[in-house]
């Protein structure tokens, strides 16, 4: 009797889980179906695959839509931001754990405080700053209306520094000491010992940074003035907001915009979980 009872409970559990996963997966399914349908079919809630994917793609690729420019700008800013922020934040987080100084904790607390300030409150001063940079020859490269201006503010984030610091605590100092005795310099310890050991932490940091940068909207929107520097979220916003939006093309654009994030996550999923739970190899 006990066996049947267990089976029933198991069945209920599975039904429940199926239901929840359907709830989670449904929007994605609808998005993919929408990408293959015409705008009026999407409006009609047509739930079967259509044949308009090719047309939708062609609409998207019209030069005035700026989709290709947006995609390549997003790829450039995301890759550069991810690489730079990993380098800067891991070095900072590493130093916060490995080196002692009197001001260290205070400095770190101030850094954490910056996490509490909402972006919208520093938006206007930050904008002013970048507008000023346009007047200085070298800084012009990262002034308003450049991809550099989108990258720079997210290169160093309190969250990533905090994340690297917490994980660096599990890195054994003996290992670093031993390396030092063997004659390795400080840079070498970081790149040859710390980096390989903390690989999963770096992977997690990369995913977090990638996702943030890929979906970043408000700041890039403010600094991008000409269509040539628009990123993908802005292109999507422009596609969806006219009085008569082409929903088929919009869905296709969203599918393409979601793919890289999904790919990056699935490829690094194992490392991501390990990084979040703080495993050291």
């Amino acid at each position: 009797m006990g066996k049947t009872k267990k089976k029933v409970i198991l069945a209920i559990e599975y039904v429940f889980l199926c239901f929840v996963s359907f709830l989670c997966a449904f929007p994605f399914l609808w998005m993919i179906i929408g990408a293959t349908n015409t705008s009026s079919d999407v409006m009609r809630n047509k739930m079967t695959f259509g044949s308009a994917l090719w047309n939708n793609l062609q609409t998207l690729l019209q030069p005035e839509k700026g989709f290709v420019t947006g995609l390549s700008n997003t790829i450039i800013t995301t890759v550069v931001t991810t690489l730079l922020s990993l380098l800067v934040c891991s070095l900072a987080g590493y130093s916060f754990t490995m080196y002692r100084s009197q001001k260290r904790e205070k400095l770190f607390n101030i850094l954490l405080l910056t996490m509490m300030i909402p972006f919208s409150s520093i938006m206007v001063p930050l904008y002013r700053m970048f507008a000023q940079m346009n007047k200085i020859p070298v800084l012009k490269l990262v002034g308003l209306n450049t991809l550099g201006a989108m990258i720079l503010p997210s290169v160093s984030t309190a969250f990533l520094i905090f994340f690297f610091r917490q994980n660096a605590k599990s890195f054994s100092k003996e290992l670093a000491e031993a390396a030092r005795i063997d004659g390795l310099g400080e840079w070498a310890i970081f790149f040859k010992i710390f980096f390989p050991v903390m690989r999963s932490t770096f992977a997690t940091g990369a995913i977090v940074s990638f996702m943030n940068s890929w979906n970043n909207y408000l700041w890039p929107l403010l600094v991008a003035q000409s269509p040539q520097v628009r990123t993908l979220p802005m292109v999507l916003s422009a596609l969806g907001q006219s009085y008569t939006a082409d929903y088929g093309a919009l869905m296709t654009a969203i599918v393409i915009a979601t793919l890289p994030s999904a790919l990056v996550y699935f490829l690094m999923q194992k490392e991501f979980v390990a990084g979040m739970t703080g495993a050291v190899k």
Binding site: T77, L83, L87, T146, L147, V229, Q241, S242
Partner: protein
């Protein structure tokens, strides 16, 4: 040593990636200026490829043919993005990269005029006030100075399904210049006879409230555009009562959003639509209903003196950002196109269904077109005639923010709450809103 090489390589790679990114974009933005030194470049922002952006592109063709030394760059982006960027740049007092010409909604422009004085240019010299409907100009007139050039205006009308009203025993004559209480009585009969709802209400959309307020010459604020005019305002009080009577009569169909509303129209779920003239384009997407629709003036409020059977909802206008280089050229562009070229505006009636709020001085021949969809009625001629009646109201600087509050308090009224209390609550909450909406 190898580590140093690695580090150098990494930095070089980052720099290499960065350089084309930054360099490419800066050269991109300046390309127009460097390509041909003799050309003056101006920029304009708008937000709908099929409507205002299309109008800009047509204006550009005309203007550039006359002025080969000027290039106009038209940038299309979403309305929310335009607002966000203007707010930030004006607040930062940084005009770098702002456009010369920008389209702003009439409900929103007061915020820019009153909170950031001096950022938008005085265009009094290129606008002849006598040519335009006064209610349109008042949105962007301050101290007698006109700061904008009208683009579109949404004078209101009541579109109705001839077949449904006939089934309930009404002809078009019965709908001429009626009051809201008469409208509700008709609505009940229509619902009885056909089962179809008389009106729609879309959640988050306070169109009807704004139609009612302007039809009776009042708004959330007084003439000074700042002091609130909500608590004890008899018009808003009656407007809330109209909402409640409509709901209590059970003749209103609720839609969760715009897309559902469009589907409702296409399905034939509604007997009338009371909205701005631009809704005609949406109604016409229901091709199978051609010939079944006609147009009458909106109902008028019963107990308000001076209330008329005409109103306006929304609309937008062109502005010149004063501190951006070449503002003079931008001003001249507007002067020769949207501000004075009635031939062009007449063309836009057919191209994009534009109602510009320019007084019809005989040059708007396209208004006389008979529309088969509306039973050969000359709907634009009617709209133009009703526009003459629209009362002038001050829009203030916070219309959209106050709308949100009104919508919440309206719910308590619909559930039987006291209207006066609701108005006081709206006023005290509205008084706490910050400056920019």
């Amino acid at each position: 040593m190898r580590i140093r090489k690695l580090l150098a390589l990494l930095l070089a790679a980052a720099a290499a990636l960065c350089l084309p990114a930054c360099g490419g974009s800066t050269s991109g933005s300046n390309a127009g200026k460097t390509a041909d030194e003799s050309k003056t470049e101006i920029t304009a922002w708008a937000w709908d490829d099929n409507f205002n952006v299309k109008a800009l592109r047509l204006a550009k063709e005309r203007y550039e043919a006359e002025h080969p030394d000027v290039t106009l760059t038209v940038i299309s982006q979403s309305l929310n993005d335009v607002v966000q960027k203007l707010n930030t740049a004006f607040a930062a007092e940084s005009y770098d990269g702002l456009p010369n010409i920008v389209l702003i909604e009439d409900y929103r422009v007061g915020g820019y005029l009153d909170v950031f004085p001096g950022s938008l240019r005085d265009l009094s010299s290129i606008i002849n006030a006598d040519d335009w409907m006064p209610y349109k100009l008042s949105a962007f007139t301050r101290d007698g100075k006109i700061y904008g050039v009208p683009f579109d205006s949404a004078v209101c009308g009541m579109f109705y399904r001839v077949d449904f009203l006939e089934q309930a025993g009404y002809t078009g004559e019965d709908l001429n210049n009626i009051t809201w209480s008469e409208y509700i009585e008709i609505g009940k009969k229509v619902k009885e006879a056909t089962g179809v709802s008389m009106l729609e209400q879309t959640s988050g959309d306070l169109t009807l409230m704004k139609i009612l307020m302007q039809s009776a010459g009042t708004w959330y604020v007084n003439e000074d555009n700042t002091s609130l005019n909500i608590a004890g305002n008899p018009v808003i009080k009656e407007a809330m009562q109209v909402y409640k009577d409509l709901m209590d009569a059970g003749i209103v169909m609720n839609f969760p959003g715009w897309d559902e509303k469009v589907r409702g129209i296409q399905n034939g779920d509604l007997a009338t639509i009371v909205d701005g003239c631009w809704i005609s384009a949406t109604i016409k997407t229901a091709e199978d209903q051609s010939g079944k629709w006609a147009l009458k003036p909106i109902p008028r409020m019963d107990h308000v003196e001076g209330a008329v059977n005409a109103s306006n909802v929304g609309g937008s206008s062109w502005y010149v950002v004063d501190k951006v280089a070449n503002a003079d050229v931008a001003e001249n562009f507007l002067k020769e196109t949207f501000a004075s070229d009635t031939g062009f505006l007449n063309e836009l009636v057919n191209e994009i269904g534009l109602f510009s709020s320019h007084k019809s001085d005989g040059s708007f021949t396209n208004y006389e077109a008979q529309d088969a969809f509306f039973g050969n009625q000359k709907i634009w001629e009617d709209f133009a005639a009703w526009a003459e009646l629209v009362p002038q109201v001050p829009y203030g600087i916070n219309t959209y923010n106050i709308d949100d509050i009104v919508e919440e308090e309206l719910q308590t009224v619909l559930q039987g709450g006291d209207i006066d209390a609701a108005l006081s609550a709206i006023e005290s909450r509205a008084a706490q809103i910050g400056q920019i909406g």
